[in-house]
Symmetry: D2
């Protein structure tokens, strides 16, 4: 048994298949994948990695399984899945995931191939575990898959607490010990036991407060857009294939961006935090529906049109369309009066947080500081936004509630 | 200057009028008034006092005044009010406040007389401060009164964090440093500066999560009801006058309850945590409106009727009607797009939390464990509740969401 | 199973004999015995109680037993002892313990009689545990007694962390999770496993830093001396017997002190923090050896002589002779290279901390502020101290290193 | 003014020259220099950077200056120095510093040239600050230099707390708020005010506990030795010059090591945590004096001789001679009885901690796991160690007290 010191859960005891997996290159690679990518541009302490997060998820899975009374091979399978659940992440975690998906058809939790290959596959098989079954758990399949990837999964419990700890933002502090204790199976469904509507709500609220404050902080979004655009350029220029990039770590990708001529200026900008600023920052109601569903090709064309109209280089306009608001936690199941209910049926908070989320959603167009006014105006015309100048709807409505920590953007 | 070590804010520097007030008997008495009264029956670590809370409020007031750029005599006045804001509390803080109010017409923040009397009055006057003006701030009067007693006051910021720290419940963790930094005056109103809708929401959410989990925990409510009933008995029997009780500390009141023959059994029950249990626990919609507005005399009559019908001693039935749901924080003011708005206008969370609060509200009838069934049935008939037996609506609807930590009640 | 929320260990699961003991009056009484007595006069947040500490000790005992692989009846016995280890405490914990010992011959860990009596005795017997055996563990008897009361006991691990948490002083933060994991039995002795010399040292260091900063803070010592003197007066005047006082809680003792005419002024002084000040504060080398070994009767005579010479009332002079420096932790056993060694043999820190402790030791004479000069001079003559006036050695040598937080004493 | 959220100090307000310096490439580069280098191989959460540490040092400098009453240009100069004090660090902080010093003659605090060059120089000059004077402060010159680089500097106060926070080890928790408040100048010397011997001791103790547990953890030392050897190879092979490496960040160095043929296997080993193990681990008394003073050239020859005798490739033997034990904090100045004393004169702890440090000191020879026995024997002969086989003195004396967290090494 190995004991690892963790800044969040203190001591984590690793044994069995997990101890054997720990030293595989696939798991060690997670030390070099930052958990929150460009969020560290807004929160300088947020340098934690997928490795410590994976250990934390493994730890909470062990605790949950203990409380659920699950032992033996089934438990080992879930523990392996917990430790391995993020091995499919590309560099900077979610930052370039959508881009790579367009090229490879794979998200980070599509790890069947990765788990079957050695040495991970060997380790699993030597512990009598089928790699495909473990990959299935990571994809959320079956009763136990809900524990690894579902509305009440231990992944969520670890990252909310961990991201709060490392950013210094107090909003993610959920009672994860209670959550883990109150999980139970009813009719094959993972649910929170009777008397836990509020426990479920607290998870939802933590997520809702962390979203605008941390995960979608404008500085993080701008950094991400620039990183994504630069990475796309690497692919276009044939410097690296999407499959290669997918298996890089943060160091590889940064090195690649610094070396390639066409991306070197993006790399420098990210390094020096000399970021684009917001030229447009629009609420969901002010963005034409068509724009929300536009495919990536069309977005690239629109960027070029805007750049052209504003008279700037095409690489100086980045459109950022976040995905539509959604709320996984709303489908969390809680036992109420002996029946399983979806949190969304039970709690008036769900609709309210959904509304809040919608009101915080922003469409962005970014450009170098010197040209934001021009780009903003051009974008408004090209995209058909109701424009009154640069920041479009920000000025008009403006119930934007995010912490503007650290070098507030325009 | 005196520096005091605090478990929440670390070092608190006390100077000026506050340093002089610190050693008055009125402030030192707060060391012996527990902050959360009978909540410690549910959360054994919750033994903090009004003294440390008052120091914390003073500390946050100093920080807020510094950020607001308020200095000199006006600042001293607010600091004095912050340190003194709770000197009017009766023993066990809010636990017997309503009872004493019925007899004396005074709540804990009605401190004009207390502040005028010596030595507090002397200290204030010797620092050129008018006791009446300080009492006014404590009552929330004027522009600066909002800082001491209002929707965005530093009182609230301290107690949420402190109560969370001492109960071990993570839900009260607000970003109090940010809140204090973002307070500003606009048109004479204390508001949160632009970009802080979410900061205001987080205060609201913390309060909404702490309410059912801590402040209205059923065990705390039962303990409070028993303490209140026993104290009422002291008054009825002429053992102590309401005015005397009002100036007691926790030690005095416990000593009095232990000595008087008619209250000794209550004192023993509280000491040994041998509490009444819930005989009725009903949702707001199942309680006749008339009951919500019933005056105290009528409640006492109803208790007697129920006891009579159930064949138990009258002191074995306690009716607990909490005040109707309300939400002070919903009127917090935030600047949005240059205008002051009430949080309730701005945030969809307010209505949702109001609904949640309403759904968590419970009417209770308590009795010794052996007779809860009989009392429950009797109460249902007498009070006109829709009864299906003991816990009435709990079983039928039951989205009761509170943590049932520590010896869960029936 | 009952789960209790604790501010230090988060959730504590209580089951078996412990759950049954929890509701006995003897254990519930610990809610009303403050953990650190008059230390709260120096650290206002230090209001925690023996109850939460006892729960914490129980929790760590469970963890240690789990790691040691001890189960069944032996484990239940140790758990009962852990929860009950402090039921023998008199009011304000150690504050009046020495006084009561002189009269009753019993320290707080002499609980054989208490454990045999009902209902605690009944609970133990109904769980097939012998009260005498549990009392033996509390007294440190046998192999498992070391876990409850010894150099490496879980009592120490809980109180260092808890007292640090509640005072806000960071020095008690030991790695209690590691300590609990590394405990093992070798040749029937409780030892720290190989590779833990430094772990043992950290426990020693934490204690050495907490001693002068918290446990022997001058304000706490003065408060304690006054409380002890007042309690002695209660006994002398026949207001209460030592045996009665021993079973009081903090509320009873305060109530008694407030009511009795001869102690009422002490009670007021403690309530209002209007404490005596140091008239003499002398290092160990400046105090005649005879004084260190003087019995209590003689101390009382000396106080009277000093008062007489200084022309003050006898109750206005209090001599405070702390016990000679000692260091339990120096005998902690650690495995080094397969052999058991005492920490004192192994670590150069032990001697150094012993020297530090000796240099921080102070003999005190206290008196009301107005007469400290007169009393200091008189005491120097009567006691044969090398005096240069009031504070004797403080001014001359003065490497007094304690935090003088909050209203620094003279 | 910019406000930055920090996981240790919460909000850090940055203004004046510091705000202007924040966005220079030299300061932003610190985001990509890990604070503890290879310590993260032992403590996976230790991924914090020199950037957040520099902000923390700046923050504590501001607080100290405020307490010292230093304002205006002198204060700005110190604040600039605090923020810039680590800009001279090479990749992985201290890990390759000694190697680069041998080639460039510069340590990380030799920043005169760097500060004079633009844009940092420009920013300083535009704020009326002389780059040379700021560099002098960083080197510890003059009265105010002691605040930035001295025994009581704010650098130390930040890193102890921050490194403890991020590793999860509780030993670095000093009372930094108290330390900052108690700093004062006496006769031009930075000292801790009267009554702070213990405060100074706590700093010393924290350092003494962190050293073996964190800073010199064997896994961290082995990783560092491999990184250093690999980097040396880059220089030898002409892949990069020492001056170039000095200005790299962690990403650059890792990329260079991965690309060069001769270092690629080291890079892979570090990435996969497939580290060398200890072949020799000897106490100071068992190592010939000559070895302690050997220059680097001779060390390389000895490695070659050992490799030759053991029949392994020369790159598979790494000798690790840590610098001789020293204790900067022993010269901290505290005011005792009005006089300035060195802590070493005053506190018996200093000698004890020095002895402890000496007993924890270890000389190491590392090699791939498969050949540690052969290399250990060969090393013992070549180096003239008292050998009983592989680990030499470890087995014989073995009071090695370090936490062997995470995959304990042989």
């Amino acid at each position: 048994m190995t004991t690892i010191k963790d800044s969040v859960h203190d001591h984590i005891a690793v044994e069995g298949v997990a101890a054997a997996l720990l030293d595989t290159a696939a798991v060690q690679r997670l030390r070099r994948i930052s958990q929150l990518g460009t969020v560290s541009l807004a929160y300088p302490s947020a340098n934690h990695t997928r490795f410590e997060h994976s250990l934390g998820v493994y730890h909470l899975a062990c605790e949950a399984l203990e409380h659920l009374g699950v032992h033996g091979r089934q438990a080992e399978r879930v523990k392996a899945a917990a430790l391995l659940h993020d091995v499919g992440h590309s560099p900077f975690s979610h930052n370039v995931e959508a881009l790579l998906y367009r090229h490879t058809g794979k998200y980070h939790d599509d790890v069947e191939e990765l788990l079957a290959s050695n040495p991970v596959g060997d380790v699993l098989r030597s512990h009598d575990l089928d790699p495909g079954a473990v990959a299935g758990l990571i994809a959320g399949d079956g009763q136990y898959g809900q524990l690894v990837s579902g509305e009440l999964d231990v992944d969520r419990m670890d990252y909310l607490v961990r991201d709060a700890h490392h950013t210094g933002v107090p909003y993610g502090t959920i009672d994860h010990e209670r959550l883990v204790r109150e999980l139970t199976f009813l009719d094959g469904e993972l649910v929170l036991a009777e008397g836990n509507v509020q426990t479920a709500e607290s998870l939802l609220v933590a997520r809702a407060l962390m979203n605008p404050t941390v995960y979608s902080h404008p500085v993080a979004r701008i950094g991400k857009s620039m990183l994504r655009r630069a990475t796309e350029r690497l692919i276009e220029d044939g410097v690296a294939t999407p499959e290669t990039i997918r298996r890089m770590d943060d160091y590889d990708l940064i090195a690649a961006l610094r070396s390639a001529e066409s991306t070197e200026s993006y790399a420098r900008a990210l390094d020096e935090r000399d970021l684009f600023k917001r030229a447009v920052w629009a609420e969901i109601d002010d963005v034409p529906d068509s724009l929300l569903d536009t495919d990536h090709e069309r977005v690239r064309e629109l960027e070029a049109e805007i750049a052209d109209r504003a008279g700037v280089a095409p690489e100086h306009v980045v459109i950022d369309v976040p995905s539509k608001p959604s709320m996984t936690e709303s489908t969390s199941r809680v036992v109420v009066n002996g029946e399983i209910r979806r949190l969304g049926q039970q709690s008036p908070l769900v609709d309210a947080l959904r509304a809040a989320q919608r009101s915080q959603w922003r469409f962005g167009v970014y450009a170098p500081e010197a040209v934001t006014d021009g780009v903003g105006g051009a974008a408004a015309s090209v995209l058909g936004l109701e424009a009154d100048g640069g920041l479009v709807t920000e000025v008009r409505r403006g119930h934007y509630a995010t912490l503007d920590e650290f070098e507030p953007d325009k």
